[in-house]
Assembly symmetry: C2
Homo-oligomer: 444 residues x 2
């Protein structure tokens, strides 16, 4: 029998992920030890309520409500409580006592990441967070290690399963947002209060984490432009499908070449992170991501386009990522030496969304009379926005009113600020009856 | 200015990948240093021919034909020569002199992997090989680290870009194999001698590497069942498309529950690796992998289904993976301590293809007369092979001959041995005019 050095693992949180992690640790101890080079002894699980029912069950003797005592003497602390406090304080305590920390807490990392990483660096500890983005999908490690010799230029991520389930249902079954949300709630894909998901807060946290990591730059959560899916209509999804697009809620992180006032590249770069619904072409690999799945599409200078796909949530799936981090932490303990500090060496300026350039699809109801198209086209060209495609459907105005037509316009790349001015000008033009919809187009 | 410890990097091979690695190392030195915590000094590039033209060019003063001298004193040796010798000997020399090694050499790893890993373990060095499978796609690190706490059950990989390009062209453009191969050669996707690709040798090497890593078991190259794509016909591809499938060359690695003679599970497991053309349903994520792209679909007990997608080859893409490994190696040097040994702790038995159970699609031309279907069905049931679907098309026999029909049969899971017996029996049955095609069906 092989003898391993024993590492003490303290688990904070006994929810759906915590219970799975505890169960897998207890079941597969020998296997994990042989892969880690160290025994992983679960010394306890800190929970709020000792009597709560858990699936799978956690042996009662491991449960405690005293997280602070549990941390003392642990070699590795796994934080799966979620939320900002007491998670932040407990992680800082764990780090200062010399433990490595594994966490799935995206809200905490997006909000207090720099503080935590710095605390870890000071004592040579390491913070692992593969489970914070994309559930079981390996995305943190590929960005931090595999692409460490490359330059990431862009990330397009479907990082929220709830909204992808809803949008997919709207696309495939023709549901309204309300119907699709009701189904998601019924099936357990949406929480009783779905705000964090459908308003894009969850995706924005993940965008901040991905952008910070990919661009070696601290990207604060409040710099992430955020729009949820609540304004996406069945008509938009239907119209998108008919013109060869799918509507997805995307987390988009970009490295952007800075320009001077004359529009010339300065040779410097900034970064941007944003979350909003967007049209992507049906042929794009992200368009085939159905249901509650997640996928992260990464473009890098040398590597080209990569995609990482899988289940973005779920107790056991997320537990897989946590255990991978646990094995990494254990291997590091066996080897010794300080952890690798979170790299923010680039510290590029973080740009507001007005610096972003993308394509747009604008749907307008216009008065159906000669010269209207020329009028509309002039509004775009006055703002320097050039058009890629225009399609017109003759509609029928309500009785007695002037006849109307629907125009669907796709632009070439334009800045958010030019587009905003264009849309405002269109809205006040007498030939425009209604600006039906403005959607960004990505992945071209 | 930050001062870094300097690491000496020796590059063996100045081909398309080597030239890109050299160029990126020289161009992005500062950036790589800040990510590694160490300067990466390219001390030389060993090549066969000093005067060969290279894109991008390598500064002449770095070139040498003396690989052995170059290795001496290097902290990290990057082997991009390919082939078994002198690569094997040089890597062993590098390891014994205490260097870490980065390699993209799939043939060498599949053939002499255990020898190299053992040599590295003995001196505490580390061997990195992300670039050996799937070009820029991070797959080695996710399997070794991210999924280290999980149990991989199955891998389906499109790991050869040349054959995927050819099969995709046959599917999308209706080309014959010869036409598609000619286009692939013209566009540089196939080599002048395409044998290694189209006969599946390249994919088999990658299957051996993936299976060894995923199952913590040494899977020798000669245990990988290998069939290439040379027998795939335009008619098969066309028929597959019409029935909702795509033909792909897959590298399949499976963890298989062992059974006793009564067909009961013994509770033990073995592993199998094989490469052959297979039908996959059009809705499977792998079906959307077009052109020369690669993708690896991984199923694990906790993580569920994951997919990793990207460019599988190309000088600069592969260079991205090599540089990621270089940064990892540099970080390890900074931290100190021994490398993590390649895990073969499980060492499950490696099974021949006769142990594999999968589904099959069998296309037969049969005599069109009453009772034929019953006769055919009996041949299957005699071998314990149950049928999932049968479709029949009435054909017309050649003039004067008996009328014939085409039967397309999809089976439930059956063993390779039962299927082989079934096909042999069908072939000698007088009602069967021809066994047109037998293809495995995967990804259901």
């Amino acid at each position: 029998m092989i003898e391993y050095r024993n590492l003490r693992v303290a688990l904070l949180g006994g929810g759906s992920v915590g219970a799975q992690v505890a169960s897998l640790l207890l079941q597969h101890g020998d296997e994990l030890a042989s892969r880690s080079g160290a025994g992983l002894e679960l010394v306890g699980v800190a929970v709020r309520n000792l009597d709560a029912e858990r699936t799978p069950a956690i042996p009662a003797h491991l449960l405690t409500t005293d997280a602070e005592s549990l941390i003392l003497g642990a070699d590795i602390v796994v934080e799966l409580m979620g939320g900002l406090e007491p998670a932040r304080t407990l992680i800082l305590q764990a780090i200062s006592s010399g433990a490595d920390v594994v966490t799935a807490n995206k809200a905490l990392l997006a909000t207090h990441g720099p503080e935590l990483f710095e605390a870890a660096e000071q004592v040579g500890a390491q913070l692992y967070y593969e489970a914070a983005v994309g559930g079981a999908i390996p995305i943190i490690r590929p960005l931090r290690d595999s692409l460490a010799g490359d330059r990431v230029t862009r990330i397009l991520g479907i990082v929220n399963g709830t909204t992808n389930f809803i949008l997919d249902k709207m696309d495939v079954a023709g549901d309204t947002l309300e119907q699709a949300l009701a189904t998601a709630t019924e099936l357990g894909y949406a929480e009783a209060d779905p705000t964090a998901d459908i308003e894009g807060y969850d995706a924005a946290q993940k965008a901040a984490i991905l952008a910070s990591l990919a661009f070696h730059t601290t990207v604060p959560l409040d710099s992430v432009h955020r729009e949820g899916i609540t304004s996406v209509t069945a008509e938009q999804v239907d119209a998108a499908r008919k013109s060869g697009y799918v509507v997805k809620l995307l987390a988009i992180c970009e490295r952007i070449a800075l320009q001077n006032e004359a529009g010339e590249s300065t040779g410097e770069f900034g970064v941007s992170a944003r979350v909003h619904p967007a049209l992507i072409p049906v042929a794009h690999p992200l368009a085939a991501v159905h249901g509650a799945n997640n996928a992260v599409f990464v473009q890098a200078e040398a590597a080209g386009s990569l995609m990482f796909y899988g289940a973005g949530a779920g107790g056991i799936e997320t537990a897989s990522a946590v255990l991978g981090d646990l094995v990494s932490a254990a291997r590091r303990h066996v080897i010794g030496g300080p952890g690798v500090a979170e790299s923010t060496h680039a510290n590029l300026p973080v740009l507001p969304i007005s610096n972003v350039r993308t394509r747009y699809q604008i749907t307008l109801t216009v008065v159906d009379e000669p010269g209207v198209l020329a009028t509309i086209a002039t509004v775009f060209s006055d703002q320097g926005v050039s058009l890629e495609a225009v399609s017109q459907t003759i509609g029928s105005g309500s009785e007695g009113a002037a006849p109307t037509a629907t125009l669907v316009i796709v632009t070439h790349e334009a800045s958010e600020s030019s587009l905003a001015t264009t849309v405002a000008t269109l809205g006040s033009n007498p030939v425009v009856a209604d600006v039906v919809s403005v959607l960004r187009v990505e992945g071209l």
